[in-house]
Every structure is written in structure tokens, then in C-alpha cells.
């Protein structure tokens, strides 16, 4: 890795960000018909629609509209929510923390559980633990997040009454959503971790370390794990959009007041300034996570590290 590579990588990131913002902006113009009418609904008066058009520069050509919108965004001004009649950034600010709490907790749960199971399955290959890991992972990835949420809500909330069935009342109310989200994601880490670990354990350098009489424990925890973890870093970044996507549904099921439920409500209410803002923020986070993963990768893998 060298300076040229870094510049190239940053250039790509910037390009992606521009593209992402264009898509977020264009969402509204995707539909046939008048965006103003789409947003205000079919019962709005001509007069109101005209005022709305003026307010949102909807009479200008598209590039000008985009320019106005993106300049606003860069100053932290995402426009006004039609439904709540409040600045979008205020709305999002209050909703962001619950979502972050949920997704980060679920991610941590998924990574810890997934990595552990994957490593153990690889070491004890073809044992009952290996089979169980594989089968349970298969089941988790075959279950839709919203249904898992409903099942949890029914059994642990309604039937057993161990946890609250919704809302954001303290730590207890976090348990069900985090598990509903995290357990499914665990499967996406356990399987790659297992196969990565198996592949590394098959490498010549592991065999040659064994031939030198190095303890099996050291071979696994030092020689193998260090190599197997490198590609898994990228895996975390790759799964990020899916975790965020899953959180939207989980938030709806558990009435969790985060960005996800705000997004669903805004889409249903055709409150597009909010939708655009959330799309933009989430994709921004994903792009940055990918960039970070790439850079981290080059730090932990000496093969692509900056030469001195």
C-alpha cells in the first residue's frame, strides 16, 4: 500500500458519497407525477401545492434543486419534515441514539457469539459442536427478522413475561430487540469464521509450525487466529448495512423509537425530506465503515502495509 493507493481509495469514497447523495435525492423524483402532489397527498389544494413548490425549489431544474439540497445538507440543514413540521435534523438527532444503542449492541453480540462458535467449530471439526454451529446458523439466516422479533415478543414478552414487549424503558427492554437482531447476524459471522479458520489451519505455515513442536494452543490462538481474523474485519463492515436494515424492522416490531421506525412512518406518510435524510445518513455510515475497514485491513495485514 502506498500514497497512490490511499489517494485512489479516498477518491473512490468521495465518488461513492456523491453517487449516494444523488440517489437519495432522486428517490423523490422516481415516481411518475408531481413530487409536491405525492408528498401533500391528493386532497391538497392547488394553492398549497404551489406554495410548497416554491418553498422546496420544485420549479427549478433538477441539478439546481440538487445543488440547493446538498448545500443545505452540508450545513446540517436537511429541510423540514412535512408530517412533524419540524427541522429534519432535530427529529433525527433524537432518534439516532436509540438506533445506535440497538445496532451496536446487536453487532457486539453477533461478533462475540459468531467468532467464538466459528473458531470452536473449526477446531473441533466434524464434532457435534461443529454440526450444531452449522445447523443453527442455517436456521438463523432462514428466519425473517420481523418474525423472529414477533416470536420473541410472544414467548418472552407475552407468555413468560420476562421482558417488556416494547418501548424503551431501560435495559430490560433492550434485551429482546438486541437478541432478535444479533442472533440472526451471529450466523453471518460464525460460518465465515469457521471456514476461514479451517482454511488457515490447512496452510503450510501451520503445518510447519506444528513440525517445530509448537504447542497446539499457541498454534491456534497465535498463529491461526491472527491470520483468520484479518478477512473477518471486512466481514463486519460488509454486514453493517444488513444489521441496520434489520434494525428498521426490529424497531417496528418492538416499538423502539429509533431512526428505523421514523423511516417506516415517514415512508408511509410520504414525508420525503425525512426519508432522504435518513437514506443519506445511513449510506454515509456504511461508506465510512467500508473505508475504515479497508484502512484497518492494511494496518493489520503486513502484506499490504505501507512499506518503509
Amino acid at each position: 500500500m502506498n500514497k497512490k493507493f490511499l489517494l485512489n481509495r479516498f477518491g473512490r469514497t468521495l465518488l461513492t458519497l456523491v453517487g449516494v447523495s444523488i440517489i437519495a435525492f432522486m428517490i423523490l423524483h422516481l415516481a411518475p407525477g408531481d413530487p409536491a402532489r405525492i408528498m401533500l397527498g391528493q386532497f391538497a389544494t392547488e394553492e398549497n401545492i404551489e406554495i410548497f413548490r416554491e418553498q422546496h425549489h420544485l420549479n427549478e431544474p433538477l441539478p439546481v434543486q440538487y445543488g440547493a439540497w446538498i448545500t443545505g445538507v452540508m450545513q446540517g440543514n436537511f429541510g423540514y419534515s412535512i408530517r412533524y413540521n419540524r427541522p429534519v435534523h432535530e427529529l433525527i438527532w433524537t432518534r439516532m441514539w436509540p438506533t445506535l444503542t440497538l445496532t451496536v449492541s446487536a453487532l457486539v453480540l453477533a461478533v462475540i457469539l459468531g467468532f467464538t462458535l466459528g473458531i470452536l467449530a473449526a477446531i473441533k471439526r466434524n464434532s457435534w459442536l461443529d454440526y450444531i454451529t452449522t445447523i443453527q446458523a442455517m436456521f438463523w439466516i432462514s428466519i425473517p427478522a420481523f418474525w423472529l422479533g414477533i416470536l420473541f415478543l410472544y414467548f418472552f414478552g407475552l407468555r413468560l413475561r420476562w421482558f417488556p414487549i416494547g418501548g424503551m424503558a431501560g435495559l430490560a427492554s433492550l434485551v429482546l430487540p438486541v437478541f432478535a437482531l444479533g442472533l440472526r447476524e451471529e450466523a453471518w459471522f460464525a460460518r465465515p469464521m469457521r471456514s476461514e479458520m479451517l482454511e488457515v489451519l490447512n496452510q503450510a505455515y501451520i503445518r510447519s509450525a506444528r513440525a517445530r513442536g509448537i504447542k497446539e494452543r499457541v498454534i491456534i490462538t497465535k498463529h491461526a487466529l491472527r491470520n483468520a481474523l484479518i478477512p473477518l474485519v471486512t466481514m463486519i463492515a460488509l454486514r453493517l448495512p444488513w444489521i441496520i436494515g434489520g434494525s428498521v424492522v426490529i424497531e417496528v416490531v418492538f416499538a423502539w423509537g429509533g431512526m428505523g421506525s421514523l423511516l417506516v412512518n415517514s415512508v408511509l406518510a410520504r414525508d420525503f425530506p425525512v426519508v432522504q435524510a435518513i437514506l443519506l445518513l445511513i449510506s454515509f455510515a456504511v461508506v465510512m465503515a467500508n473505508l475504515f475497514a479497508d484502512l484497518l485491513y492494511s494496518v493489520i495485514d503486513p502484506r499490504i502495509r505501507l512499506e518503509d
Binding site: M138, F139, W147, Y154
Partner: protein, 301 residues
């Protein structure tokens, strides 16, 4: 050692031999068969497909006939899976739901497969700026969580089966494109493609005779791997009220409707979810089995 054989003589010998020969497909099938999970997956999917095709024959009741007096009935002999909040027979609705879900799934795969494979092929084979443009577009679209972008698109386009297909396909093709592209890249670098060029094969001939046949296995595996995502995502959209709308019976919207009656009638949401789970599980098992059958060296130490 001059050759004196005539075509007829050769043909006779060869025809005898051909009888005993096992084709490559047979080899793949024999490996697939030995994988029990893959076989189970195949059976599940087959059953679901049959249910979807023969829904009118199999369904005990009309899935749309409401009976206000018989709402939320527990499973009984007449209604094996009970009734929903409008007194409709759950089993019949779920059987018809198989039709809806599977057709949406197939349409999504067709839509994103066509776009993705074509663009992946172009990017992989031609490289250069074609590749750059396509791959940047892929980068951009993949920065959005599938379900979130699909929600927004479905929200703009409005509800309905075709809008679900479009909304999910617009994002989903990127996975096809990436996989096909990387497969094409590795085939393009292979010795047999260079050999084809060295005997004077033209570009179209190389693509049709050398690259595509070797990429077919990837495409087949991709279909089985992408089907679960398509099914879950479309059910999710329906669940959120952005996909297939009631009264059309879709598993996602049934689960959504059952949510309000979890305590009185838990069978509504649970059975519908089981249908989704088994179908998806079936495709996942097949996908895994096919991957191992096509590439037996992948997981062999």
C-alpha cells in the same frame, strides 16, 4: 501408423462407448445426492412449488371468503390452522400465499439476475472504463441497506407486486454482478481462454463457447443463494405495509395482521412464519449443496 479408419467405423466405436459414459452433470448430481441437507432442501422446495401450482386444488376453502362470526378460531378439523381476524381459513390463505411469495421471488431473481449477469459479464470481460462505471454504480447501490432503499422506492412507487420486484431488484442485481464479474475475471485469465485466442477464436465465440459455459455453475449457485434474500426481503416489505397489500394473501402481510392478535390467536403469525422459514431453509440447503457439488475441492482438506 497411417490412419485408415472411416467415419462409420469411428462412429460405431464411439456410440458404444457413449452408453457407458457418465456426464459431468451426472457427477454433480451424484455429489449433490450424497449431501443429505441438500436433498432435504430440494424436497422442501419441491413441495412448496407443488403447493403453489396446485393451490386451488389443495386449499380446503376460498382464501378470500370472510366469515365475521368465525374470526380467530383455533385450529380445528374444519380449519386445520384456524381462522384469521376476518374468519378466513388460514390454511387456504397460506397455501395461496405460497403462490404469491414464490412468484415474487422468481420475478425478483429474473429481474436482478438478468441485469446483474449482463452487467457483470460486461464489466468482467471488457474491463477498462466499462468495468469502472459498472463497479462504481455497484459500490454506490451497495452503500444502502437493501431493505431501506427498497422501502423508500416502494414508498414512492406505491404498493403492489411489481413495485416490490422493482424495488428489490434495483439493489439486488449488484450481488449478481459482483459474483459474475469476479468469475469472469478468473476465467478470462485462464489458460484455456488464451488457448482459444491462440487458435484464432473471435471474441463472441470466446464469450459464448468458453466463458459462459464455465460461468454457468456460478449463476446457478447464485440463484439459489439469492432466492432466500429475495423471499425474506419481499416478506419484510409486505410486513411493513409497503409490499403486497391485503386482501391478497402473502405470508408477510399475514404475519403483520396476526401481530395484533398474538395472545388470542398466536397461530396466525407463527404458522405463516414457519412457511417462510422452511422455504428459505430449503433454498439455503440447496445453495450450499450445489456449491459443494460444483466445486468439490472447496471444502476438502
Amino acid at each position: 501408423m497411417e490412419d485408415t479408419l472411416t467415419y462409420e467405423e469411428i462412429k460405431k466405436d464411439i456410440d458404444n462407448l457413449k452408453q457407458e459414459k457418465t456426464s459431468q452433470l451426472a457427477l454433480v448430481w451424484s455429489r449433490f445426492k450424497r449431501n443429505k441437507l441438500a436433498l432435504i432442501g430440494g424436497i422442501i422446495v419441491l413441495i412448496m412449488v407443488l403447493i403453489a401450482i396446485f393451490a386451488p386444488v389443495l386449499a380446503p376453502h376460498d382464501p378470500y371468503r370472510t366469515a365475521p362470526l368465525r374470526r380467530l378460531e383455533a385450529p380445528s378439523f374444519e380449519h386445520p390452522l384456524g381462522t384469521d381476524a376476518m374468519g378466513r381459513d388460514m390454511l387456504s390463505r397460506l397455501i395461496y400465499g405460497a403462490r404469491v411469495e414464490l412468484s415474487i421471488g422468481i420475478l425478483i431473481i429474473l429481474f436482478e439476475g438478468t441485469i446483474g449477469i449482463t452487467l457483470g459479464l460486461l464489466a468482467g470481460y471488457f474491463g477498462g472504463w466499462v468495468d469502472s462505471v459498472i463497479m462504481r454504480l455497484v459500490d454506490i447501490l451497495r452503500s444502502f441497506p437493501v431493505i431501506i432503499l427498497a422501502m423508500a422506492i416502494a414508498g414512492v412507487l406505491g404498493q403492489g407486486v411489481y413495485n416490490v420486484v422493482i424495488a428489490l431488484g434495483i439493489v439486488g442485481w449488484t450481488t449478481f454482478a459482483r459474483m459474475v464479474r469476479s468469475k469472469i475475471l478468473s476465467i478470462k485469465e485462464s489458460d484455456y481462454v488464451e488457448a482459444a485466442r491462440s487458435i484464432g477464436e473471435s471474441t463472441p465465440s470466446i464469450i459464448i463457447r468458453y466463458i459462459l459455459p464455465n460461468a454457468v455453475s456460478t449463476a446457478i449457485i447464485m440463484v439459489c443463494i439469492m432466492m432466500p434474500t429475495a423471499l425474506i426481503a419481499s416478506a419484510t416489505l409486505s410486513f411493513l405495509g409497503l409490499g403486497v397489500q391485503p386482501p391478497i394473501a402473502s405470508w408477510g402481510s399475514i404475519i403483520s395482521a396476526g401481530r395484533d392478535y398474538l395472545l388470542q390467536a398466536p397461530w396466525i403469525s407463527t404458522t405463516a412464519g414457519l412457511f417462510i422459514m422452511f422455504t428459505v431453509l430449503g433454498f439455503n440447503f440447496i445453495g450450499d449443496g450445489l456449491r459443494d457439488a460444483f466445486d468439490p475441492t472447496a471444502d476438502r482438506s
